[in-house]
């Protein structure tokens, strides 16, 4: 009977019901999108780092793991690393910031291909002319590029020579000397990658290298990728919590206002229930059940809408943004939405149950 009353109440005010569901849905989507974005981007970094095929990464002193790395290491270090025991291939990359969150990486294609196992071209092929460039499939899709398309980067026009399957260090690749020239850092590199005879030697070789170059950041690949977390991105974790808090507060306020209005609208009905002997718990139970339905449906809608934001972000925003679906956060956001909604109902609910039955019955 109570469930029927709850459902009928929600059906009776369809606009308010739909708006409340939508508000809770947006709250949930906001959280899922942000978490999905941070995780998606980190996973993307990890995949591209692993795609290099190196067992050890070397980064310049005084750099942070998740920041754009300037070309500050001497390229001659590559020769030094190449001569170290167990190192079979040493190669380097340089970076050039071509726009907002758009980095072009330069590599020695022969050595890089040897290390990574080569590129899988989905269209076109390797660079053959000085003005040619390679892009990965994600970048090509977002920028609507095909082999032969022209693209402007760093105040120069480039012809897309080939489109490779993503997962190889960067989304845009040029020969190393070209990027060094663009960045004005001839003879300097941003990262050095080492391939070993046996991956199992990574820890031992890392220790040996660290003792020789104590200021440099030298990581086995597994350690490096394990550092790709939100807590290692300056401000990202705090930013995530701020947005989650905002989402909860907004959802709370919307449900609070919605339930407050609902209680006011139903003053007379509450008086009728009281005249029939409905206890405070009974009336509060009705309101909390209504909110529970709104929160559960809203949370479900929020999960579905996060697929929508994933589609929009992955297809219509910059190549640096990648959103993944985060099912492990579904119950967390559901709990946030439900508890926020229930808390938002408590005040107007308590107000409703303490209302004088006589006043309530006189309400028009």
């Amino acid at each position: 009977m109570l469930n029927k009353l709850v459902v009928e109440n929600l059906k009776h005010r369809p606009v308010r019901t739909l708006l409340s569901i939508l508000a809770i849905g947006i709250e949930v989507t906001m959280i899922l999108t942000l978490v999905g974005l941070s995780r998606g981007m980190l996973d993307d970094y990890k995949n591209r780092a692993k795609g290099v095929g190196a067992d050890i990464w070397v980064r310049p002193p005084n750099t942070s793991i998740m920041q754009f790395t300037a070309n500050s290491m001497p390229e001659k270090l590559v020769d030094f690393f190449q001569k170290q025991p167990h190192v079979t291939i040493a190669t380097a990359s340089a970076n050039f910031g071509a726009g907002f969150m758009e980095t072009v990486s330069g590599v020695d294609f022969d050595r890089f291909s040897q290390m990574s196992g080569g590129f899988r071209f989905l269209g076109g092929g390797p660079i053959r002319q000085p003005n040619e460039i390679l892009v990965d499939d994600r970048y090509a899709r977002l920028k609507k590029l095909r082999p032969g398309s022209m693209i402007r980067l760093g105040d120069r026009e480039w012809r897309v020579a080939g489109i490779y399957e993503s997962g190889k260090l960067a989304r845009i690749l040029l020969p190393l000397p070209v990027v060094q020239d663009l960045a004005g850092s001839t003879g300097k590199v941003a990262q050095i990658f080492l391939k070993l005879d046996e991956p199992a030697n990574a820890a031992k070789v890392t220790e040996a290298l660290k003792s020789q170059l104590p200021d440099y950041h030298i990581y086995p690949i597994e350690e490096l990728t394990s550092l790709f977390t939100t807590s290692n991105v300056q401000g990202l974790e705090a930013f995530t919590y701020v947005v989650i808090t905002l989402g909860v507060v907004v959802g709370f306020l919307v449900v609070f206002l919605s339930m407050y209005t609902a209680v006011l609208e139903r003053t007379r009905e509450i008086g009728i229930l009281k005249s029939m002997g409905a206890s405070s718990g009974y009336i509060l139970g009705i309101l909390l059940r209504e909110t529970m339905v709104l929160a559960v449906v809203g949370a479900t809608l929020g999960v579905l809408m996060s697929y929508g934001t994933q589609y929009l972000i992955n297809n219509f925003t910059g190549p640096a943004l990648t959103q993944t679906i985060v099912p492990d956060w579904w119950p967390i956001t559901a709990i946030i939405a439900i508890s926020g909604a229930q808390l938002g109902t408590l005040y107007p609910g308590m107000k409703a149950v303490h209302q004088d039955a006589l006043e309530a019955l006189s309400y028009d």
């Binding site: 009977m1 009353l5 007379r268 009905e269 229930l273 005249s275 002997g277």
Partner: protein
């Protein structure tokens, strides 16, 4: 017919004062009244005579300022609001001038929710089905209040008020919003319920014609019962 039966309502020295701003308004000024089980009493009086306040205090919707009210042996004046609310489940059935049906529920569910609140089984006995036939609403139960006429809504409200077999049925201007034909029908039904079921009814009205349906007419003026 009700001679010799015990009083189901005993009111002694009942007072009710409303605080309006800094002013105290005495709505009931020492009301004494006995209603025997099975009696149909009409309380009549002009606006401001205190009859509606008597209705509300008697139904436990608002506390008395002083005096005693015993309904079926229970003194309302001694009860907290929660206990008065609980008492309404079983002892009091209300019929209001404005019907006061829940707009989101069908007529059937409006009756069923009263049973649900009282914690009683929601199956209807043959006797109650007979009452629904008597009220002429058995074929209108699936409709929501907005699809029912005023007379039909008031008859649903009567069915809801008596479904839990209350000790007393309180009716506040039950024909106030109805035309003459529907008024006569509703008053006739209240009298039938009183005669067939022995349902104690206390009806508030300002209409002498409506009051004449009762066994006894009690007149109120200035918050007191007139001799």
């Amino acid at each position: 017919m009700t001679d010799g039966k015990p009083a189901i309502i005993e009111i002694r020295g009942l007072r009710k004062v409303f605080h309006v701003g800094d002013v105290d308004v005495a709505a009931l000024r020492g009301v004494d009244l006995d209603v025997r089980a099975g009696e149909f009493v009409a309380v009549i009086g002009p606006s401001g005579s205190g009859k509606s306040t008597l209705f509300h205090v008697l139904g436990g919707l608002t506390p008395a300022t002083g005096g005693t009210i015993r309904i079926d042996g229970v003194d309302l004046a001694q009860l907290s609001e929660a206990r008065r609310t609980a008492l309404r489940k079983s002892k009091v059935g209300f019929v209001f001038q404005k019907y006061n049906l829940l707009p989101t529920l069908s007529a059937r569910d409006n009756i069923a929710i009263a049973q649900h609140i009282s914690g009683k089984a929601q199956e209807w006995t043959a006797q109650f089905r007979e009452i629904l036939r008597l009220l002429g609403i058995e074929h209108r139960l699936q409709h929501k209040p907005r699809a029912l006429s005023g007379g039909e809504q008031q008859r649903v409200a009567i069915a809801r008020a008596i479904v839990n077999h209350p000790a007393i049925l309180l009716a506040d201007e039950p024909t106030g919003n109805l035309d003459s034909a529907n008024s006569e029908a509703v008053l006739g039904l209240l009298r039938d319920l009183n005669q067939r079921l022995g349902q104690t009814i206390l009806m508030i009205t300002h209409n002498p014609e409506a009051a004449s349906y009762g066994h006894r007419i009690v007149r109120m003026r200035d918050g007191q019962i007139q001799a």
